[in-house]
């Protein structure tokens, strides 16, 4: 789950990381008030859950409260990289002497946290890594102990910081790690970490992403997570306990297991078909999850005429066949729509045979035991 900049900064502040003075607003009038109360030049920043806001026109400097109001009115409601702007952060404009980068994420190869810093901030760290790798320093962190202060100092030293900048940056890095661990983050990033003309270090931006599997430990985010999913079907998916990604095509694709679902999408596409979605119903299927999954696709087919066929594959490993079949049948009874369902059922015996028997004479279902044939038929049906 991604956090908004203002939320990340609230957490930064809790952990002692300096942030600019700022106020969250939802209207032009509030932006004007905020600028007045800050009492100097401000930056008006759109709050959306993606990067590249500046380039897209979502961050602007306002010299006066009147400017702030006008800019806010322009930006609010704008669509930036597919996200609608609903709120703005009005912040004091910093006197920037230098911009750094600091971030912590998970190192894929070693499976431990990695802290990355660079004297070159304000741009994508991937670009710096490609063009000026010598300007980046990183360190792997032992998750059982966290980062030790001397490790932080040694890291910061490598990008040439000295004196107060060295101690400030290493302290912020330790605070950022504490936050990363406490909030079960997948990644936290300060970009840029500004050094002001007075020599102070301030987090001018924040990016935080919390691990979805850890949301049970952070109930304050759990409901927000669902509310924030903009796509109706994707939100329904999360509510139903399944993984759903909306796509553009006309064949609604569903299977149990991410790898299997992805490989169905690949073959549908390669065969000239066009997937309307990715739905992974997950392992160890219950009747309810099966019903939610099939129900979601049927509702989508009812709402969107372009969906021609539903392609459903269940690989029976441990899912009880009666639960799987009953879930499918209940969904069909509940959501009335003509869309045919191609069902490929395979796996552990006698589960496979049992599920097949239960689904044999169900209206709208066309059973297949070969994946290849099932997919081919789905592509054919979608053409008509």
């Amino acid at each position: 789950m991604k956090l908004y900049e203002y939320e990340g900064k609230e957490i930064f502040s809790k952990f002692g990381i300096p942030i600019p003075q700022g106020i969250l607003v939802n209207t032009g009038k509030e932006a004007r008030q905020a600028a007045i109360s800050i009492g100097k030049e401000v930056v008006v920043k759109s709050q959306i859950l993606t990067g590249g806001r500046g380039k897209a026109g979502g961050i602007k400097v306002a010299k006066t409260p009147e400017d702030a109001e006008k800019i806010a009115q322009d930006i609010l409601g704008m669509e930036l990289q597919g996200y609608k702007v609903g709120s703005l952060l009005v912040e004091e404009k910093l006197d920037i002497a230098n911009e750094m980068y600091m971030g912590i994420t998970v190192d894929d190869k070693n499976g431990v946290p990695i802290a990355i810093i660079s004297a070159k901030g304000g741009v994508e760290i991937e670009e710096v890594a490609q063009e000026n790798p010598e300007e980046i320093a990183s360190i792997l962190i032992d998750p059982l102990y966290g980062i030790r202060s001397y490790e932080a100092i040694n890291l910061v030293r490598q990008i040439g910081l000295t004196k107060e900048a060295l101690t400030s940056a290493s302290k912020i890095l330790s605070q950022l790690y504490d936050l990363f661990a406490s909030y079960d983050a997948r990644m936290v990033e300060i970009n840029p970490l500004v050094i002001t003309n007075e020599g102070k270090m301030v987090a001018a931006d924040s990016r935080c992403e919390i691990d979805d599997n850890s949301l049970f430990k952070h109930p304050e985010f759990k409901d927000l997570h669902i509310q924030r999913i903009e796509n109706l079907w994707e939100r329904e998916g999360v509510k139903g306990g399944v993984n759903y990604v909306d796509l553009e095509g006309n064949i609604a694709v569903m299977a149990n297991g991410a790898g299997l679902t992805m490989s169905l999408l690949d073959v549908v596409k390669a065969g000239g078909g066009s997937p309307a979605c990715f739905l992974d119903a997950g392992g160890g299927l219950s009747r309810e999850r099966m019903k939610n999954s099939v129900g979601l696709l049927l509702k989508k087919a009812r709402a969107e005429q372009r969906i021609k066929v539903i392609l459903l594959m269940v690989r029976m490993m441990i899912s009880p066949p009666d639960a799987v079949a009953e879930g499918i049948i209940e969904a069909i009874k509940e959501v009335e729509v003509e869309t045919p369902i191609i069902a490929v059922i395979r796996g552990r015996e006698p589960y496979e045979t049992r599920a097949r028997v239960l689904l044999k004479n169900v209206e709208k279902i066309i059973l297949y035991s070969s994946v290849e044939d099932g997919i081919r038929e789905a592509i054919e049906m979608a053409k008509e």
Partner: protein, 288 residues
């Protein structure tokens, strides 16, 4: 011995009385897995399918020789269960549980490494040596004994690939799912190193998917040091950027982790890449 486990491996089930643990224990017993004990705190002294249940791993280990543990405890308790098994000296673990917190996964990784325990998972279908033993949920009807090792990052897809091979009369030496999350125990390279020595294994099928760099590392290792034919398959060619496709491992950020990167790594290492599931057995037949 095959890799990691065989018919003589004595197995402990952590979380043996839970819904999933109990269901899968029964299925493993049916297959012939030598489950000698189970653990559920507070249920010590009871039995489950005639298997004695203990309050802790230490208690179980004081009564039985245990070679491997299968972990079914719910996600919030997995870290503790894994630490417990590692502390008790168990050298091979299979963590089946899905939705395990990322930071727990990182801690288990380091704790196990420091103390010399190998594990697969979390979020894995487990490991199966056809006709010998099964630690996890791979379908007996999908496999048959033979010379092909399947090394996969998926769950149901692993089972499906095994079926496609078996349906063409191609048996397997081992079928192993490494887990679908971003941080897992054994990586493909580490399994390949063991398969290199394994007499039973004549050919390897790698089932990869988007996210991470495991497949690229495997391709590099195979080109430099591996001595047996390999066939690869990569799921997620059409996955959109930035979307989590099912599990946390399968997310594309930037160019890293994309299917093209993995496919071209395999191809430039001289490894044939199957376009579809049903092409896998055809390629295997050509290689062997």
């Amino acid at each position: 011995m095959a890799i990691f486990v065989d018919k003589d491996t004595n197995v402990l089930v952590q979380g043996i009385t839970g819904r999933l643990g109990a269901l899968q224990t029964e299925l493993m017993l049916d297959y012939g897995t030598k489950i000698v004990a189970g653990v559920t705190p507070g249920k010590g002294g009871e039995t489950q399918f005639d298997i004695p249940v203990y309050n802790s791993v230490q208690e179980a280990i004081s009564k039985h020789r245990i070679d491997a543990s299968v972990v079914y405890v719910p996600a919030p308790f997995v870290q503790d269960a894994a630490f417990e098994a590692i502390d008790a000296g168990i050298k091979f673990m299979v963590i089946i549980t899905d939705w395990v917190p990322l930071h727990s996964e990182m801690k288990i990784k380091v704790y196990a490494k420091n103390r010399g325990t190998c594990y697969i998972g979390p979020n894995t279908p487990g490991i199966m040596i056809p006709s010998q033993t099964s630690l996890g949920m791979i379908s007996p009807s999908a496999v048959m004994p033979g010379g092909v090792a399947i090394v996969s990052r998926s769950g149901t897809l692993t089972d499906e690939v095994a079926s496609h091979l078996s349906e063409q009369g191609i048996g397997q030496s081992v079928v192993v799912g490494l887990g679908g999350d971003a941080v897992v125990g054994l990586r493909m390279n580490e399994v390949l190193k063991l398969l290199k020595q394994d007499k039973q294994t004549k050919c390897v099928v790698i089932v990869g998917e988007i996210g991470g760099t495991m497949e690229e590392e495997a391709a590099e290792y195979i080109e430099a040091q591996f001595n047996k034919p390999v066939v690869a398959y990569v799921a997620g060619r059409v996955a959109p950027q930035g979307k989590v496709m099912g599990h946390a491992g399968a997310i594309i950020t930037g160019a890293r982790g994309m299917a093209e990167s993995k496919i071209s790594a395999f191809k430039s290492a001289g490894i044939p890449v199957a376009e579809t599931l049903w092409e896998i057995p055809t390629l295997v037949e050509k290689m062997v």
